[in-house]
Amino acid sequence: MTMLDDTSGQTSAPRQTPQALIAARNIAVFLAKAPPSAFGLIVLAVLILSALFAPLLATHDPYVQDLQNTLQAPSAAHFFGTDELGRDIYSRLLYGSRITLTIIGLVSIVVGPIGLFVGTVAGYFGGKVDIVLMRLTDIFLSFPSLILSLAFVAALGPSLNNAIVAISLTAWPPIARLARAETLTFRQADYIAAARLQGASATRIIWRSIVPMCMPSVLIRLTLNMATVILTAAGLGFLGLGAQPPLPEWGAMIATGRRYMIDSWWLVTFPGLAILSVSLAFNLLGDGLRDALDPKQMNRR
């Protein structure tokens, strides 16, 4: 009996890889077919490229003030005009994409593991562990993420790093929910039973067998959340609770530009467009992915 389960576990595990590859290719094909998703991909590519090559693409130093040239309208010298201290807005936007990517990256690195840990442990052990962890998740979910982040940042003090911590603290519950749901479906699988019969510890089973299976959906869910993360980060920056001046964070740029808005529309317009297009890109991409995969499961919050 053990032998039988064992072999079935052995054979089904390697079979997963090609299937995952096929799925990945199908997703890619699907995305290419849907123009909105393709648009999302292009914007993200632009974002990454501009972050990587910001020093090459920038026409000015984003921090150097030029008090002779404050509040200049867009022109050949300054594509998107200059701000109240004469800094080039185009160059600042380019460097700002680095901050945006940093926020996205760090939040994902923090949120992914926390969500996976809570979700898989709750799902695998079930019972009281499950109840306690899911109750905790629900408490965090019962807040709008921006307001909770606001409160955390207020408590920790305003800075970019604290904003990232605060956003992470509010962004893990949906991931945990998802990981738990996935774990529940895998928990009864034969190869998990086989591993258990072989005497593998719970830690080992969760780490080696369950976490890899949850990864794809968790990664997709992270992508979906990125739009919210970007908007929350920009909102915090706007309220002066995120990145601090002179950092060229887009939300903070809008906040300072607000005073000059009536006469110098470009101060707020371009950073806003940048935020809008990146968050739209993530939303379009996420929407495409959601359709490409099981639409029902992903629709649930």
Binding site: I147, F238, R258, S279, F282, P295, N299
Partner: protein
């Protein structure tokens, strides 16, 4: 009989889980209050108080006691309706909030009406025209609303519709000129001015609320549209829809009288949740529009680290969320014949 008992058990279980969530909420606000960098004692005694005075207040606030005792003191204060005093305004926090809340509720309600009126028909249409160009256009339109940084759209809106075109009022709830003219009965300006028969004020209030409410509504319509579409898609392929077609009903009648009727209950839930999410946008848009509401109170308190105010605001938002969840649950039970 067994059905009733099951209902009872379900209600009890739900009641228990609400209590647990509430308790967690209190712990959360308590923790946020405790890790805030502002020194509550300094805030009370001022910068140049002596060590002795400082220590007196320190003990008075119970800060020398262990954390868990402090937590129970916090609970006791809350139970007696004492939410602390705001450092900024010097008034009891709860009084400040109750004063600010109607402005926000007015804005959010106006916004959710716009959001639902926009989102529901678009969602139905997207489902009916699934994968055709209408569906794609609606998808991009609604994702756009979901993707815009609302504080920025607010500014652009002011720039275009107020500064350039003059179609709407600027910031605030009404023109400066009218402030103080309407007696404060309910706190809802539209209602108060209508009751008082001061139609000038009413018009001014309407001109001021329309832009922020429309922007908030548009941003919340994204979620409503998407959920409506997905609910409708579930229904459209059901057999009873075929039955309705077989009876000779037109596509439009089938969609609205049968398929849509079946998602109404779910939609109520979604709209209730979207209403909660609106509060989030309200915090940002109130800052842009100088709307004297809850969001502005929260952000002003945050900026100067007014601990009691922040804790209570977070608590209130949590309570509103829990309440909305309960309400949507009750509505579900009341309106769906299958759960009766």
């Amino acid at each position: 009989m067994t059905l009733n008992r099951q209902h009872m058990r379900g209600a009890l279980g739900q009641g228990a889980s609400i209590l647990v969530t509430l308790f967690g909420l209190l712990i959360l606000t308590f923790v946020i209050g405790r890790i805030m960098p502002t020194d509550p004692v300094r805030a009370i005694v001022g910068e140049d108080a002596t060590q002795e005075v400082y220590m007196n207040v320190y003990q008075e606030l119970g800060l020398d006691k262990p954390m868990w005792q402090q937590f129970f003191l916090y609970l006791r204060d809350l139970a007696t309706g004492d939410f602390g005093t705001s450092i900024r305004t010097g008034k009891p926090v709860i009084q400040d909030i109750l004063h600010a809340l109607p402005a926000t509720i007015e804005l959010a309600t106006f916004a959710i009406i716009i959001g639902a009126c926009l989102g529901v028909p678009l969602g139905v249409m997207a489902a009916v025209k699934k994968d055709r160009w209408q569906d794609h256009v609606i998808r991009v339109f609604s994702l756009m609303g979901h993707s815009m940084p609302i504080f920025w759209t607010g500014m652009i809106g002011l720039l275009v519709f107020y500064a350039s075109l003059g179609w709407v009022g600027g910031s605030g709830r009404m023109s400066q000129f009218y402030i103080g003219m309407v007696p404060d009965r309910t706190g809802f300006l539209l209602i108060d001015s209508a009751v008082a028969g001061q139609w000038d004020v009413f018009r001014s209030a309407l001109r001021h609320i329309i832009l922020p409410a429309a922007l908030l509504g548009y941003s919340s319509s994204a979620y409503i549209t998407r959920m409506t579409r997905s609910f409708m898609l579930d229904q459209i392929n059901q057999e009873y829809v075929t039955t309705a077609r077989v009876k000779g009903l037109s596509q439009r009648q089938t969609i609205w009288r049968h398929a849509f009727a079946n998602i109404r209950v779910q939609l109520v839930t979604i709209v209730a949740l979207a209403y909660g999410a609106l509060l989030e946008g309200a915090v940002l848009i109130e800052t842009v529009f100088a709307w004297p509401g809850f969001g502005q109170y929260l952000t002003s308190s945050l900026r100067i680290g007014d601990m009691n105010a922040v804790m209570t605001c977070v608590l209130i938002v949590g309570l509103i969320f829990i309440t909305l969840n309960i309400i949507s649950d009750i509505l579900y039970r009341v309106f769906d014949p299958r759960t009766r």
